[in-house]
């Protein structure tokens, strides 16, 4: 007979679980799912990009079209010029689609303990791994520095941290705080995405457990909420990186315009 209420608690894992090792490398379940999703995404996006046409796209290509258009308009309104939006939209659109697709495919029934390898779950959403999100945030922060240096030159870019007279000691103090703010940005970007996804998974697990026999029904509202939150977090990650870039670039423009 089935039991109305499961006796053991829900399975909660905050960190990704180790599956096997290749040499010195530990392969975790989130890495495997990340590779699968990236491969499928590259194939799917290359297929869909060929379907986009000027006369209006059809089918799933519409989603891609609308998403890229949305990121383009956001980038344009935040950076303030069309040419800069054209230059940097490819990176931000990639980021948006990767995070959104990772979050949404993380809600599929194949993820979790339906497929197990040696007792651990075989698949885990890539964004539910702090190593993955901090890698994405690190790449974003480093690329923003590179973009800002390309836009305004190294000297002007570093002067934007240490703005004001160089003889004033307060300039160095404020500059150091500004430099440490980059570290804060790195960890807040990574933690926000990671915690939203992981806590969504935990909420779904808890409510499926509380439902007992009707776990399939009690988890539905939270799964729907997670679809919304997954898209929202992708948007927020992108809009925050765009705004960091626009701050790093616009300061240099102010210095440019002030003497002229």
């Amino acid at each position: 007979m089935f039991s109305l209420f499961a006796s053991e608690g829900p399975h909660i894992a905050i960190a990704p679980e180790k599956l096997f090792t290749i040499g010195d490398w530990t392969i975790t379940n989130s890495m495997i799912y990340g590779w699968i999703i990236s491969t499928l995404m590259i194939w799917g996006l290359i297929y869909l990009v060929k379907k986009i046409s000027v006369n209006g796209s059809r089918g799933p290509a519409q989603i891609l079209d609308a998403g890229v258009e949305f990121i383009y308009s956001t980038t344009e309104s935040s950076l303030g010029s069309r040419e800069m939006a054209r230059r940097y939209t490819p990176y931000f659109a990639t980021l948006f689609f990767f995070i959104a697709i990772s979050n949404i495919t993380g809600l599929l029934p194949i993820v979790g303990r339906s497929f197990t390898y040696d007792g651990t779950a075989l698949f885990r959403p890539f964004t539910a791994d702090f190593n993955g999100t901090i890698a994405m945030a690190l790449i974003a922060i480093v690329l923003i520095q590179a973009f800002a240096i390309r836009e305004s030159g190294p000297v002007k870019h570093f002067r934007h941290y240490f703005a004001g007279s160089l003889l004033n000691p307060a300039t160095y103090l404020i500059g150091l705080v500004e430099v440490f703010q980059e570290l804060t940005r790195l960890f807040s970007l990574a933690l926000r995405l990671f915690l939203n996804v992981v806590i969504g998974e935990i909420l779904i697990a808890i409510f499926a457990y509380l439902g007992g026999m009707f776990g399939f029904a009690t988890a539905v509202p939270f799964t729907l909420m997670e679809v919304f939150i997954g898209l929202l977090q992708a948007y927020i990650f992108v809009i925050l990186t765009v705004s960091y870039l626009s701050v790093a670039v616009s300061h240099s423009h102010d210095h440019e315009e002030a003497p002229a």
Partner: protein, 76 residues
């Protein structure tokens, strides 16, 4: 004090305090954000387009609640 530690499961107490107080701050923050958004929209309906900006700030406030919620799995 020893009797207290023996009779009360302090880890559960700590988890309750973490979730309760950790959720309180972001809840107040999100309430204030929503209130000021509604005030702005009712004063100037043009400003309804800043809903995306609102969600960015909601996510910023939410982070601290999520950190508190994630910490309960570390407390043993």
């Amino acid at each position: 004090m020893e009797l207290f530690a023996e009779t009360v499961n302090t880890a559960v107490l700590a988890k309750g305090i973490l979730v309760g107080f950790g959720g309180m701050g972001p809840a107040i923050a999100i309430g204030l954000l929503g209130a000021s958004y509604m005030t702005a929209v009712s004063r100037n309906p043009e400003s309804a387009k800043f809903l995306g900006q609102l969600f960015v700030f909601v996510a910023m406030a939410e982070l601290f609640g999520l950190i508190a919620f994630a910490s309960i799995f570390i407390v043993k």
